[in-house]
Amino acid sequence: MSLPKREMEELRPWVERTVKKVLGFSEPTVVTAALHCVGKGLDKRKTIDQLRPFLDDSAGGFVERLFEALEESRSARGNKGGGEKHRKRDLKDVFGDEAETGAKREAPEPGDGTVAKRKRVPRFEEVEEPEVIPGPPSESPGMLTKMQIKQMMEAATKQIEERKKQLMSRLLGTPAAAASFMNDAIEKARKAAELQARIQSQLAMKPGILGALGNTGPHNLVALANLHAMGIAPPKVEAKEVNKPTPLILDDKGRTVDASGKEVELTHRMPTLKANIRAVKREQFRQQLKEKPGEDLESTSYFDQRVFITPAQRPRRAFKFHDQGRFEKIAQRIRTKAQLERLQCEIAQAAKKTGIQASTKLALIAPKKEIGEGEVPHIEWWDSFILNLSTLYSLLININSSLFDTDKPVTLGVYLTKKEQKKLRRQTRREGQKEVQEKVRLGLMPPPEPKVRISNLMRVLGTEAVQDPTKVEAHVRAQMAKRQKAHEEANAARKLTAEQRKEKKVKKLKEDLINGVHVSVYRIRNLQNPAKKFKVEANANQLYLTGTVVLHRDVNLVVVEGGPKSQKKFKKLMLHRIKWEEHNSKRDDPDGDDDTKRNNKCWLIWEGTTKERSFGEMKFKQCPTENMAREHFKKHGTEHYWDLALSKSVLDGCTDD
């Protein structure tokens, strides 16, 4: 237990004095040595050994004293540290901002669920709701009033003064400096403990909010324990004493009686069947469960309140009902706000687009209200503006609308002809070759092995080949195999992995849709055949087309959206590849009208581009009525597809007739 430097410095004057007392004169070497021993954390015997050369016989006594002092100062410091912390917090709790007294008073008290709940941030920030936000510090019955707190504090300070005086008289024997130092620490610790205890008792007396907390017991046992350790009596305010066992008194018959002589019924534990015992135990256990869990936890004197332990069982939550219409009110407020914002945003947008910068001016000329289809206004809004205006403009307005992205210059990438590509390749290869040659010439690279084949083996390795043809042939073949292998490896390295290949394919199919989505609408007379349905759906999915299929009597509409290439493929599928007319299939259901099946056909109703996809994944929808189908399209903002297809079918019907 070596001490930090600061503490050593604090100890130094005291040790000096002790040394002076023991030796009769001050001796810095001894002081340093003593401090050194203490600093190293040596025990008594060792310290005596160490100091013997300096102090001879008086070493024992000196070390005794030294250690006593050390002990005292240490405990004082411990108290000082802990106590100070405590005190600060509590004082703040008590004296905190007047406005926040109510809220803050509760804050450090754990265990009560409501506190945590109240502290929750209100969900709707912009809406001021007195129910949500913790109210102003009203003098609620459970809380201490300001006056009470003041009184308490005054009493506490008075007591502290008294205590101090007592202590002064008691501690006269010890050196003055140490005494004052100790005093200080003790005072702080005491103050804290006292305050806590007071508050505790006060709270215990108030039956309101903290009733349950009243018997939770040792609120600040740490502080009390510190006081005990210092040999100072705890403050007068009584905390709940730990229950002592009641004395066992037996009368002449051997029965248990209490102090007054009345018989006390002790619990009898009858040895019965194991099953019964278990039943009893279970019952007890259940009861324990029903009671507050963790109560025994709190009764231990080592329970630290500050540490938050989540109970094993969650306490049952009570219902919290809101007033009726509260959220409606909030929602209404939010809605109006959003509406206002939207309106402002719209006006600003319109102003930007039309080039009229002041949105107020735009609002002036904007139509005042929506005009219905059948109505004829008294005057058109653009004319009404002129009528109101006395002076006319003779201005030219230039609006720079280059802020729209559509007018970016279109640039093509650099494309080379076959010839150019070849030339480029030739050049780069030649350069590379030259570089290698240069490097070899400069000795930066070992010269490459002569390239031997079976055909030039005799020329390259003339004498050796003659001497040992078998060996040389083997060598040549090995070299050839090596070359082959290197080549194949290079090829394999260039090759895309299966995953990359897949990605590439998908990328090719998923086209760039920034410049608009291509849409095509097909109408089929009869789309009941599951095989054909499947073909339509599967192809659309494979081509990454989105859209919808609506099945209606004579108008089966297929709408697909995607890139131009996929559209082209899908068009081929619909108009050429699928043979729509079915002649005499064997499994003809009797009620299916043969006419539409035989004369089944697919028309391309419309193809064009839109800004965005309006549909999600390809889905089939059975629509028995026209209205339902139109609703379905209207939901996606594309009712014109349906209108067009339907009117076309009607027209076709007319021409058929």
């Binding site: 005057i379 403009y393 230039n398 350069e431 419309w606």
Partner: protein, 513 residues
């Protein structure tokens, strides 16, 4: 026995140690130290004395590292190779001016004495291979960004207009307001018509439209016919051709009346003045035409030479349109502007910018109060002629707007676009009323029925024209028959005839039988 002897005599062969050509100091020191260790102090004193006297020199192990120096040289050579390789990969412009600009940007002299463009280019490349090719690109990008931000700062600006413009605006206000009143009154009167009669009329109209048939087909020129327009009395049809000729045809017998020679290139439009054939004199200006070279010409009905040329356009003029009063002529140009010409003053009174790309079509409101322009930027704008403001912004088309037309009812506007759709806009509420997925290729022309606006005619590059009922937008009839793209459509002011002209060099008249 023999081996024994040899074993004892010769020490076991020491493993051949590496040949070491460096200094022997290391070994010497080792030896010395070992000696010192073995013979405690016998020789060491002497050696120490020797060292102290300076007779024995033992350095502290400094060696001259030749290997490193060699590798350094190698490194340099390799780096040079690398640099050359990089230089090869850098693409440098072959444009000498650009090369010079690049050199200047890098802080290099732009030219050296006796240096040709090729050498300069190589120099730039070698410099870039050292500093990295990004250096040049970065500076260029900065410039671009600065320029763009500067552009974005200025969005709307105003010029002061001429006095004639102010006069014109006042005149327009005076002209349009009573017309608007009259129109609204008529609309109110129309509202009083009972539902039944209205439906009957509508049904009759639909029936007649269903019976539209090709009435006449005429080869108009030996180049595609780009535009056709009926005169106000429905007695004449003007066609414009890419050959530069405009022709007047009698209707309905399709006889050539006159050929108007004046343009040298593709004529974009030829338009009758609103009162032509009704109240206008034959010698007065009756027609206006425009061509791709930016020439705009005015014609009368007497000669085949233009009466006047309107000069001022430098780029293609795609369409011209007359103001309902006949006093003003609107022209649209691919220089991103449209202009208003006053025939009385005979000058350009308004040069209106606002589109970010070329302006393709213009049409005036029947009251004469508004003008709608549509351009290649896919946005339409409706301008108030009396104030000069853009009062409605039509945003919704994905591609260029090629045609606009006001409905005679005054508050509907149809636009035909390159995205194969026709949109009908409601001006009173400023929104898109309906999107007609009209054709399978771009829409080149849209027209409302000029009498009541009860049907909509669209022509497209899919070789067909279509007739749509106006409220409801159901297809009534597809006018198929052209072998080429339909480039222009028109409805005669009396509402009986429909004309379409096409890329296949013919124009056709359609009549309900």
């Amino acid at each position: 026995v023999f081996s024994w002897g040899s074993f004892h005599n010769a020490a076991p062969a020491v493993k051949k140690s590496r040949v070491f050509y460096g200094s022997l100091e290391e070994k010497e020191r080792e030896r010395l130290s070992s000696e010192a260790a073995s013979s405690a102090a016998s020789g060491s004193d002497a050696v120490k004395a020797g060292i102290e006297a300076g007779n024995i020199n033992i350095s502290s192990g400094e060696t001259l590292e030749m290997e490193e120096r060699v590798s350094e040289r190698q490194q340099e050579a390799l780096a040079a190779f690398e640099r050359r390789r990089r230089a090869r990969q850098i693409t440098v412009s072959t444009d000498d001016a650009e090369v010079k600009a690049g050199l200047r940007a890098l802080g290099e002299p732009i030219t050296l004495f006796g240096e040709g463009p090729a050498d300069r280019r190589e120099r730039l490349r070698s410099v870039l291979s050292v500093v990295g090719p990004d250096a040049l690109k970065k500076s260029r990008r900065d410039e671009e960004r600065a320029k763009r931000s500067q552009d974005e700062c200025q969005q709307t600006w105003y010029h002061e207009g001429s006095a004639s413009l102010k006069d014109a605006r006042l005149w327009l206000a005076k002209y349009s307001l009573p017309r608007a009143m009259r129109r609204l009154e008529a609309a109110r009167a129309q509202r009083d018509v009972t539902e039944a009669t209205r439906t009957i009329r509508q049904q009759e109209l639909h029936k007649s439209l269903r019976n539209l048939n090709n009435f006449c087909s005429q080869i108009g020129d030996d180049r595609p016919i780009s535009f056709c327009h009926f005169s106000a009395d429905s007695k004449m049809l003007a066609t414009a051709s890419w050959s530069g000729l405009c022709k007047l045809w009698s209707v309905p017998d399709c006889n050539l009346i006159r050929t108007l020679r004046g343009h040298n290139t593709n004529v974009g439009a030829v338009v009758f003045r609103p009162q032509a054939g009704v109240s206008l004199d034959q010698s007065d200006v009756n027609l206006a035409s425009c061509a791709a070279d930016g020439s705009v010409k005015l014609w009368n009905l007497e000669s085949d030479e233009p009466v006047a040329d309107i000069e001022g356009h430098s780029e293609r003029v795609s369409r011209v349109s007359w103001h309902p009063s006949g006093r003003f002529l609107g022209t649209t140009s691919y220089d991103r502007s449209w202009r208003l010409w006053d025939l009385e003053v005979q000058e350009e009174i308004l040069h209106q910018e606002g589109h970010s790309k070329g302006v393709h079509d213009i049409h005036f409101h029947p009251d004469g109060s508004l003008a709608a322009t549509g351009g290649l930027d896919s946005f339409g704008r409706v301008w108030d002629l009396r104030t000069g403001r853009c009062v409605v912004f039509l945003e919704g088309h994905l591609k260029e707007i090629y045609s606009l037309h006001f409905s005679p009812n005054g508050y509907h506007l149809a636009t035909g676009s390159g995205d194969n759709t026709c949109k009908v806009w409601e001006l009173r509420n400023r929104k898109c009323l309906y999107t007609v997925p009209a054709h399978q290729n771009l829409l080149s022309a849209v027209r409302f029925q000029p009498t009541d606006g009860h049907f909509l005619l669209t022509g497209a590059y899919d070789n067909t024209a279509k007739v749509w009922s106006h409220p409801g937008w159901t297809p009534l009839k597809t006018l198929a028959g052209h072998e080429g793209k339909v480039m222009g459509v028109d409805v005669s002011p009396d509402g009986k005839l429909i004309a379409t002209c096409s890329y296949d060099r013919t124009f056709k008249l359609w009549l309900s039988e």
